[in-house]
Symmetry: C2
Subunit: 393 residues, 2 copies
């Protein structure tokens, strides 16, 4: 009846580079990072996974990549690039996971080789998961190409794929070895993708940083006019708040502390109910609207602050409601999302609500009647709405 | 062109309990461990994965488990126990992985629930992998039931399944929350499984602890007569050396330091070439014989020490050769195993050899001619051999 105790620490360190034209011959940041990690006399092998959407918008990308590394004889790029359909599709279809795993095997990518993923959040989540489990973990570099992934998911430590109809049912906590946020990729985004990622910036501002929220209110028009400096600041501030939360808290969520998940319990479910025609950033926007209004209805958030939040979402032309939330069956499914959310995170249900703009707090239950009330208030006013008024109250 | 730096540490801590009759009502160790981890007001849910072989030898196990937890109203055991065919089969067939994942989903096992695996190394590796990726990681308790898993694989931080014909191609580094080594399960092992795990004890003694090797020489007869105290000491010493190496080194093998893999480059391949009819511990024994003889042939290990090693293996009736290593094609495949070994670990090939009993050292290449010479020396003498003599040299 004896006991041995195992006890150790693992240090994780990675840099998030804010750059432009990462594969231009004039930009040595990525090369420098790889050079610093190089073991003498040993060739670094790189396997690329590229988001099909990025490939279409940047048709010379693959030849640029080959060109970029050509002169470096200690780096060997696998000629075949793995191109994966972007969006949630990438995470829903297990064949994409298998395709990456088979390429890792076929090209003899080892644990000191690099899997470099270029794309939106879904392709990064998928590629990160494959990198995390092949040979018990390859070195993984992320090059996020959307507002959402550059400010939020791409700079964190999670990966995952959907399975058995559940969001991120399979995945791990596995920090990348580096992230390169290349602004150039944002210049080819559609309007829809330009704004959808902004919802995560609003979310993190709401629960962590009231001044950032005010900045977003002031700069909304500029950002909607594609102001580069404003968008660069938005992403960097969003990424900074995100990694600060991870690094100072419980990065692998081993205990009961919560991730930055305001507005997310419903967002995950809304994406699913729409068969992913509502993209993640849009679903988060609706989720923020629901939980802000709910915070007002339970008396924790002031009416004027609630209205400011809804109006900021509308200013960015982000959705605050969707007609799929009219049907009774879907509302029941949405409420069921609370249970799934709790299952995924484990432990007692914990939901973040707002005390004020810039200040979140946690609750362990939600009132279904008040959620439905919030939905019905949002429904009444969402069509062609430019400003939100809580006139009914 | 700015850079944000992410930097954090994760602490991992778990205990390895050496106990007997872990599910007896008189034994409170497991209950106590769960109680210590309990969040007030929250029910702990347990899902069991059981090795079919263990289930057959201990037919009352599942009812004992239900009985053990019955009186505790803060613990809820999932009635359906998942029974998985033991041995390498468990790791070769993806259906078993899916079966566990589906049960986790079906029974709403969350990240604060426990997946408890009872079985040999293969079932533990499979269950540990499923636990590591479901919801990005459930809490996982291991109850190893073989000499091999109690002293070696079950107390470490790795899990994995075989894929695309390669050993542990998919897996993670994910420490369990606790390990319970229950001696009672060893009493029903076949002779073959009683001795096969001893090869890992010999391995770790050879590279780390010459005095433990001498102890094994002295106690071999007692152990072969099923002496309980001797086997308990063997397992505890083996587990201790193993976790000490993990904890003081590079537990997740992020750098280039090597795991305790003496004799393993060939062992993995020998298992495969035999279609897993040679079990892991036996393959490790052959691997130790090959690398010890190789160490002698390259001049690093003294002849008498090499002979002592081979004779200790024979004393435990462990194999030092197998007829599958006679065919030229298989020998070529074995040599190809060096390349696969390097791919799996990443970086330049690194193999551990012996300077002396109790002292390993690393090399970065092996001489194919000398490997074949070692094989042919082993082949000449393996049949009905009770003592090994290097008469030819």
């Amino acid at each position: 009846m004896s006991v041995l105790q195992q006890n150790f620490q693992i240090n994780f360190q990675y840099n998030i580079h804010f750059t432009e034209h990462v594969f231009s011959l004039q930009n040595a940041e990525l090369l420098y990072m790889l050079k610093m990690a190089q073991q003498p006399g040993f060739t670094q092998r790189l396997l690329f996974v590229i988001d099909e959407q990025v490939q279409l918008l940047h048709p010379s990308l693959t030849s640029q990549i080959d060109e970029y590394f050509k002169a470096v004889n200690t780096i060997q790029v696998v000629r075949e690039k793995i191109v994966i359909a972007g969006g949630e599709m990438a995470k829903n279809d297990l064949n994409y996971f298998n395709q990456i795993i088979e390429a890792i095997n076929h090209h003899k990518i080892d644990r000191h080789s690099y899997l470099i993923a270029v794309g939106g959040g879904s392709v990064l989540d998928l590629a990160g998961y494959a990198a995390a489990v092949a040979h018990r973990g390859l070195r993984h570099i992320r090059i996020p190409t959307t507002v959402l992934s550059q400010g939020d998911s791409g700079v964190g430590v999670k990966n995952g794929i959907n399975y058995l109809g559940k969001k991120n049912f399979l995945g791990t906590f596995s920090p990348p070895v580096a992230v390169f946020n290349d602004y150039h990729f944002l210049t080819t985004l559609t309007d829809r993708h330009w704004v959808s990622g902004i919802s995560e910036a609003i979310k993190v501002a709401l629960i962590k940083d009231g001044r950032f929220f005010e900045w977003l209110e002031e700069m909304a028009d500029k950002i909607m006019q594609y102001d580069k400096a404003a968008m660069q600041y938005l992403i960097e501030r969003c990424a900074d708040l995100h990694i600060e939360h991870i690094g100072s808290g419980d990065p692998f969520e081993l205990g009961s502390s919560r991730p930055l998940d305001f507005g997310h319990w419903s967002a995950h479910k809304i994406e699913q109910l729409s068969a992913f025609s509502i993209i993640h950033g849009e679903a988060v926007s609706i989720g923020i609207a629901i939980d802000s209004l709910y915070s007002f209805l339970v008396g924790s958030l002031a009416k004027d602050e609630c209205i400011r939040i809804l109006n900021l979402l509308l200013k960015f032309k982000l959705p605050i409601f969707n007609e799929i939330l009219v049907s009774g069956a879907n509302i029941q499914a949405l409420l069921g999302g609370l249970q799934e959310f709790s299952e995924h995170l484990g432990g007692p249900l914990t939901i973040m609500l707002l005390n004020a703009i810039g200040q979140g707090y946690e609750v362990h239950e939600m009132n279904a009647v008040k959620i439905e009330q919030a939905l019905s208030l949002l429904q009444k006013t969402y069509v062609d709405q430019e400003r939100y008024e809580l006139a009914e109250f």
